[in-house]
């Protein structure tokens, strides 16, 4: 074959490309040099004999030889400079197609687009600097976003510029062109066309793209015998099959939490994960604001296994094994009078809990929601539908629509079928689009892994963003475009359509899935733009005036009123038959999507890898989460200082597969005899960042137990593992975790009044109850004269009642402010650079503590302790009360950090910023300095945004409007927990009631300053957290917490 006959030995080159070493030095002069082969080294020695003293070359000894040597060296040094001329930085190969209208160089522009995840789109506004997208914002006009985002969307911009992305087509690892691919591909397709595509199989991930569906149907038409399979780990099978079970057809459920007074979550983390979570969080929190005199709050009951952000926000939380959720659901169902269900066998606290919940739900008939977790069984979903029906929820607080997916199938069954066909040698041409089954497929019957089955297909084509585990096992790899690079479309959680428009030409020789399918339809040349446009042209949503509506929907980021109408579906009479109660063993194992790297697709995204996971605050790894009781049973409780997070190792065995050893993490609030592991780690070919972190939990995940393994064996194994915890976990006043180190008593922490909380009842009686015991110095109590802030006075208010700890703000801050990633070792050392962190505090017993999230960043004190101790005036105040850090002036004494009571200052102990990788330079925000080694940095309240707004307003001779400035964290927040603005006299004239939002919030009775008694006058204050517990469950959550579990 032609590609084989060239003279290099490819293996080493491929090896180096794989290792990603050459990402650091983009260019090489010859493949030999790249491969650094023996041959090349010999050549070097021939050229510069004197360079290598080791070889006994006389010329080294005699002076002339030495002079030559020097000459050569100086020459090579001189030439070293020249490489700068030849090395074209990648920027230059990212041209504008045509300069966008109204582009002012240096002024960012925003374009609406959408990011599909698990197929479902969330609307975005992407900030673009001279044609390079640098920052993701939520799209306020998009139903799934309303301006909020999740961590995945925030971090997606880094994946776009990931230097480890697949950059070209590969055949057996050799670079190839799209043309070459088409040639060989079309031949294979010809063979298939002859036999109606009997040997053709296509595997994709979940998709909601109508244009993709349209193409797929055409493909099916062209290859009648071909089969199309869908699989991805976040399959949402439970929901799909549950609907099937309950209504006899798959439906999509859209919840309207803003209409619900009472919510029961059956192991569902609806606030921070799954489609629509951003919208759901907003709606849910909108009923808990308690601002402007409101005393109304909804109530949230959560019965869940793993402690999630949703569980943390619960007014009552029941830690319960995932396998028992079904029984619990049945108990609730029977109590609310749902019919046609098997009887529940539930006892103890759980039973009482169920009873009380049911009562409350009934009391709020038509104003309540029961929602089941995505990873829960079909039965639980079916039961949830039944309960909702019994409570008159459909049409009131939720509605059903046709499914969003273009093929709503049982994905486990779908991929199993594929594997069977492969084993039966029925598959000749396997086309995998976007999926990475070799890594993330479940283990099939007989312990067969997907790779073994896949090898039965003689011809394999993989399209993906990365040259990953699957790509390396296919002959052909086609580099896929990032969603910011190619045209497509997708549906939001409620079904409305968005056109995904690219912000940049593909950085590399990548193609979109649309173009690949086009190739299968002999439309090789057709661009995804034409494909998408041509699909939509006839569609009703765009009506007659296509071009204008097209422009409009591109501008809005969503196709106007394209949401499907609610659909009335009838609940099947008798579900009892369908629902078979599970028979749980001693220990159960729960697989959850990782809060940071999802199913592993984001493993090479450094921002997400370094993101401390909610609740346990650990980055860069996954681990086995168990309760304290279970840990002690197994002898796994960590005895070393927990802040080092030296975890004991636990062995997980499931269905007789090769056991997996993982570090065990003791998590207060986790149900006993249950283990939770996150998916998405232990990648082999994720890239330089993701490889080798954590443990591949897919290796013990079978088709029978995709999310919940009811009967696994656990045992302690020798060895310890160091996890990178960002927060000492015994700063939690509750944790009785056995550690040598002295654990503070609860008074030592509650006495600090950093977190203030009360129940709704207490709060109604006397709002001041929140601040009892906390010492608040009066305005006049200070030794220092007042500084007059007659202009703007920037300030922030954070509502701890609204914060759901989703981390979106943390990544947003990192993206906006070019904050460096430091890596696992440095995180362990305590040098994480995040300007904004989500502090997590626990209250109550270890079995079921209450959780509080507190976003913590620079408090911008008016009497800042950090500034006074800076010897060089690097930390100073500006006229608007901002606490500034002057990088140029900083010498790095770290005195300011020592003297900061909140410890929010971050120091560049080493050169943490990546100054070399060209593609990463594109990802940076040009308006923010990239800090170098040895300087202190911290939150600036997004000074660059403030300045931008001020300049704009001054050009128009007006003051900055309230809400005109949104800090990065604020705009990312799904629940509007963060409010920034002016409390100065410009916006709030003296003697009048406060005008701006932030000023009003600061007048709220819940408002308080963390560590206010230090009298440093922070400009950032918090709104205390209020729970709304049910008196029947013992009122105070923490007490009731002791009882359960």
């Amino acid at each position: 074959m032609s590609h084989r006959d060239h003279h290099h030995d490819i293996a080493p080159i491929r090896e180096k490309i794989r290792k990603g070493i050459d990402k650091r030095r983009e260019f090489w002069r010859s493949l030999e040099e790249l491969a650094d082969t023996e041959k090349f080294r010999e050549f070097l020695h021939r050229e510069f004999p004197a360079v290598n003293p080791s070889e006994a070359d006389p010329s080294w000894l005699d002076p002339t030889g030495r002079r030559n040597f020097l000459k050569l060296m100086s020459a090579s040094l001189a030439f070293a400079g020249l490489t700068a001329c030849t090395n074209q930085p990648k920027e230059t190969i990212v041209p504008y197609v045509k300069t966008p209208e109204g582009l002012v160089p240096g002024k960012p522009q925003f374009y609406a687009t959408a990011m599909p995840l698990g197929g479902v789109a969330s609307g975005l506004l992407v900030e673009s600097h001279e044609g390079r997208p640098t920052k993701i914002e939520g799209n306020p006009d998009h139903p799934g976003s309303l301006g909020g985002t999740t961590v995945y969307e925030q971090a997606s911009v880094l994946t776009l510029y990931d230097p480890d992305r697949s950059q070209t087509m590969l055949y057996l690892g050799d670079p190839r062109t799209w043309g070459e691919f088409l040639n060989s591909f079309s031949q294979d397709l010809e063979d298939q066309r002859k036999k109606q595509g009997a040997g053709l199989r296509i595997l994709t991930e979940t998709s909601t793209s109508p244009s993709f569906a349209d193409q797929m149907n055409k493909v099916k038409a062209a290859f009648p015998q071909a089969k199309w399979h869908t699989y991805e780990p976040a399959s949402r099978n439970g929901a799909r099959l549950g609907a099937q079970m309950a209504f006899g057809q798959p439906v999509n459920t859209v919840y309207q939490f803003d209409k619900a007074n009472c919510v029961l979550s059956l192991d569902a983390d609806f606030l921070t994960s799954g489609p629509g979570s951003v919208r759901y969080a907003r709606d849910f929190i909108s009923r808990r604001r308690l601002t402007g005199g409101s005393n109304e709050m909804n109530r949230l009951y959560v019965a869940e296994s793993t402690l999630t952000a949703t569980g943390a926000k619960a007014d009552h939380r029941l830690p319960i094994r995932a396998g028992e959720v079904e029984a619990f659901a049945l108990a609730v169902a029977s109590a609310v009078g749902a019919t046609g269900l098997p009887s529940a066998n539930l006892t103890g606290d759980a039973a009482k809990f169920a009873e009380v919940v049911a009562k409350d739900l009934k009391a709020n008939n038509g104003k309540s929601i029961v929602i089941a977790g995505e990873h829960q069984s079909a039965s639980v979903h079916a039961i949830a539908h039944a309960i909702n029906a019994a409570l008159g929820a459909p049409g009131a607080t939720l509605y059903y629509t046709d499914p969003l997916e273009i093929d709503p199938v049982d994905q486990i069954a779908s991929i199993t079928e594929l594997v069977n066909d492969l084993n039966a040698k029925k598959v000749e041409l396997l086309v995998i689009i976007g999926a990475n089954p070799v890594y993330n497929a479940p283990i099939f019957s007989g312990g067969q892994i997907f790779l073994d089955a896949m090898k039965n297909a003689p011809k394999r084509v993989h399209m993906g963003l990365f040259n990953d585990e699957t790509a390396v096992n296919c002959q052909w790899h086609v580099s896929e475009t990032h969603f910011l690079e190619a045209w497509s479309d997708a549906r939001a959680y409620d079904g409305s359509f968005s056109i995904i428009q690219p912000l940049i030409q593909p950085l590399y020789n990548s193609k979109s899935p649309h173009e690949l399918l086009a190739a299968m339809l002999d439309q090789g040349g057709k661009s995804s733009y034409d494909i998408v446009r041509d699909y939509w042209r006839p569609q009703p949503q765009f009506g007659a005036n296509f071009d204008q509506n097209w422009k409009q929907s591109l501008h809005d980021g969503v196709v106007a009123n394209s949401a499907p109408p609610p659909k009335t579906v009838a609940l099947k009479g008798d579900l009892a038959a369908a629902i078979k109660p599970a028979t749980p063993g001693k220990y159960e194992l729960v697989f959850r999507l990782d809060p940071s790297v999802y199913d592993g697709r984001f493993a090479n995204n450094a921002w997400l890898q370094e993101l401390p996971k909610p609740i346990n605050k650990i980055a860069w790894d996954n681990f086995a989460i168990i309760s304290l009781k279970t840990a002690n049973e197994l002898g796994l409780a960590s005895e070393t200082e927990p802040q080092r997070a030296n975890a004991k190792m636990i062995r997980l065995s499931n269905e007789g597969l090769t056991p997996l050893d993982m570090p065990a993490w003791v998590q207060p609030g986790h149900p006993d005899n249950s283990v939770t592991v996150y998916l998405g780690y232990g990648r082999q070919r994720a890239g330089a960042v993701g490889d080798g972190h954590g443990f591949n939990t897919y290796s013990i995940r079978t088709v029978n137990t995709p999310f919940i393994a009811g009967n696994v064996q656990l045992e302690k194994v020798e060895g310890e593992y160091q996890l990178a915890g960002q927060q000492e976990h015994f700063n939690i006043d509750a944790s009785g975790i056995g550690v040598e180190a002295f654990i503070p008593e609860s008074d030592d922490l509650t006495g600090r009044h950093i977190v203030r909380t009360a129940t709704l009842e207490e709060y109604k009686k006397d709002p001041q109850v929140l601040h009892h015991g906390a010492h608040k110095p009066g305005e006049d109590v200070t030794m220092y004269p007042e500084w007059e802030y007659d202009g703007y006075a920037w300030a922030m208010s954070i509502d701890m009642n609204a914060c759901v700890g989703c981390n979106a703000c943390v990544v947003a801050c990192q993206s906006e402010n070019n904050t460096a990633v430091v890596g696992k070792e440095q995180v362990i050392k305590g040098r994480i650079m995040h300007w904004l962190r989500i502090d997590t505090y626990f209250r109550g017993g270890t079995d079921n503590p209450q959780v509080f999230f507190q976003p913590m960043m620079c408090q911008h004190c008016e009497k800042a302790p950090c500034e006074v101790v800076c010897p060089v005036n690097a930390a100073v105040h500006d006229a608007e009360g901002l606490n500034l850090q002057v990088y140029n002036r900083c010498v790095g004494t770290r005195y300011c950090a020592n003297n900061c009571p909140w410890k929010v200052r971050r120091f560049n102990y080493l050169l943490f910023g990546d100054w070399d990788t060209p593609s990463l330079k594109l990802a940076r925000n040009p308006e923010v300095t990239v800090r170098s080694r040895g300087v202190m940095e911290k939150c600036t309240f997004c000074l660059q945004r403030i300045m931008g707004a001020k300049i704009a307003s001054e050009n128009q001779n007006r003051t900055v409007q309230d809400g005109e400035i949104q800090t990065a964290c604020q705009s990312a927040c799904p629940t509007e927990a963060i409010v920034f603005g002016d409390i100065g006299q410009k916006s709030n004239p003296k003697g009048q009631a406060p005008q701006t939002r932030v000023a009003k919030l600061k007048a709220e009775p819940r408002d308080y300053a963390a560590l206010g008694e230090l009298n440093t006058r922070p400009r950032l204050t918090y709104l205390a957290a209020i729970q709304n517990p049910n008196p029947e469950l013992g009122g105070d959550h923490s007490k009731s917490g002791e009882k359960h579990g």
Partner: protein, 484 residues
């Protein structure tokens, strides 16, 4: 000197002598001068010097790597932004203080016994302060920008921020170093002259001649010299007190619980003297033995040092007590937790170790027996050196690692480079000391001479001589040669 007058008035000193018997002008000069002027080196000296020198090499390598990579090579992090670096700084500064105290304060107090050990102690001060100075410089993230810390006009037209205790440090430490150096050099001038006039080799005479600046023992010069020396002593005394007070301000003006305490200045100064005297003994006891200087550094000196350590040790112990009391009495959550954490926290062991080294072990000195036993004294002073280092660890690291915001708490673990830097400075310090005792008269010759009985002016004899008439010149005795 007062000693002179008191004894002239027939006052008899029953305390052990400050100088052994049988010494005269020449024997003193010879004994002390020989150490400097002798040909070649003692084996023991060479051996010790080599070890010390290796230490300083280690220090310079660490510094090079530090500047190359950044302070990240140390264990410092957030929240513990200061650790070994500042601990060592405070420790060294403290050690320096004994020197000034001995030479200046004891001079003002007319303590004649100081004369034999003062120069030794002053040298110790100089080198200790030099070591101390390294840390504020190299603990910064960008040492090459350290000139921002000096009020130099610059293009940014920025000035230092004089409210910062670190600026106070800059001024205090540099002033301290300068003044100590002046004081030390001034004391040396007459001795350089003495040696210049007796050195055999030309180059020795030339070098010493330059250092002596043409000193010729002119009575008027002596007069001004005495005034100036006394004035310098008078200035050094408040200076030395101010320096450690200001060092303590680094912490006590901070907001961190465990730092923010009014007791710090006195308690730091006492601690400094405590550590300083311990170091004096640590060095003096072996040197005295090695060079057979028992006649000049007598048991009396050593006992007096012990007594000073007892006194300052008590003040320090009182400081520890008060810290605990304040924490409890303040009723302040943060203060109370800080103390709890010190005693029972993850580092609790270190706190109790500190109590052992600084309070319990030194109490042995209450027994006279112990104050006479050189070996015991040496061990005890070692304990104190360690204890004072631990004290700074307790104050700096153990306050920072768990302060106001529990979510930010974190343990501090030093790296190998923290240790190479610390022991490197110890090596550097010893290197300088070895050079000093070999190349500089470590005991002030002229002051020792003035302590001799024959140095006193006997008024009765003067009267007689004034009455005598017409005595012819008497023969001269040859000047003994030194340096053989």
């Amino acid at each position: 000197m007062a000693e002179v007058n008191r004894e002239a008035e027939g006052y008899v000193d029953l305390r052990p002598p400050v100088m052994g018997p049988g010494q005269n002008f020449n024997s003193i000069a010879k004994k002390i001068g020989d150490i400097v002027l002798m040909r070649g080196f003692k084996k023991g000296w060479v051996f010790g010097f080599m070890i010390a020198f290796l230490g300083s090499v280690m220090m310079f390598n660490t510094i090079a790597y530090l500047v190359l990579k950044g302070v990240g090579i140390w264990g410092n992090q957030i929240p513990v932004g200061w650790a070994f670096d500042i601990i060592n700084f405070v420790w060294w500064i403290g050690i320096g203080h004994a020197g000034t105290l001995i030479s200046a304060i004891l001079l003002l107090l007319r303590q004649g016994w100081r004369n034999s050990i003062n120069r030794f102690a002053e040298a110790m001060t100089l080198f200790a302060v030099a070591c101390a100075g390294l840390f504020p410089l190299f603990h910064t993230g960008r040492p090459w920008m350290a000139y921002y810390l000096f009020p130099l006009p610059n293009t940014m037209s920025m000035w230092p921020q004089f409210r910062s205790p670190l600026m106070w440090d800059v001024f205090a430490v540099s002033t301290y170093l300068t003044v100590s150096a002046l004081f030390w050099f001034m004391g040396l001038v007459p001795d350089f002259a003495t040696m210049r006039d007796t050195a055999k080799k030309k180059w020795q005479r030339v070098v010493l001649g330059m250092l002596a600046m043409g000193w010729r023992g002119d009575a008027r010069h002596w007069h001004r010299y005495e005034t100036a020396y006394l004035l310098l002593a008078g200035l050094s005394t408040p200076l030395v007190l101010s320096v450690h007070t200001i060092v303590s301000f680094d912490f006590s003006t901070g907001i961190v619980p465990g730092w923010h305490a009014t007791i710090f200045p006195p308690y730091f100064v006492a601690g400094a003297v405590y550590a300083g005297f311990a170091m004096v003994l640590t060095l003096a006891i072996p040197v005295r033995k090695f060079y057979g200087l028992e006649d000049f550094i007598t048991m009396r000196h050593i006992r007096n040092c012990c007594k000073v350590m007892l006194a300052t040790g008590l003040i320090v112990a009182y400081g520890y007590l008060m810290e605990a009391f304040f924490a409890w009495y303040s009723g302040n959550t943060f203060e109370q937790f800080m103390m709890k954490n010190r005693m029972f926290g993850p580092y609790g062991m270190i706190y109790w170790l500190l109590i052992l080294c600084n309070v319990l072990v030194p109490s042995l000195l209450w027994w006279k027996k112990m104050r006479d036993n050189l070996f015991v004294i040496f061990i005890i002073s070692m304990f104190i050196n360690v204890g004072m280092w631990l004290e700074r660890f307790v104050i700096i690291v153990m306050s920072l690692n768990r302060d106001f915001t529990p979510s930010a708490w974190r343990m501090y673990y030093p790296t190998i480079f923290d240790f190479t830097m610390f022991f490197g400075t110890v090596g550097f310090f010893l290197t300088m000391m070895f050079l000093f005792i070999r190349f500089v008269p470590m005991i002030p010759i002229f002051e020792m001479k003035s302590l001799l009985p024959e140095a006193k002016v006997d008024e009765r004899k003067v009267k007689e001589l004034e009455r005598e008439e017409g005595r012819g010149p008497i023969g001269s005795s040859p000047l003994p040669q030194y340096g053989d």
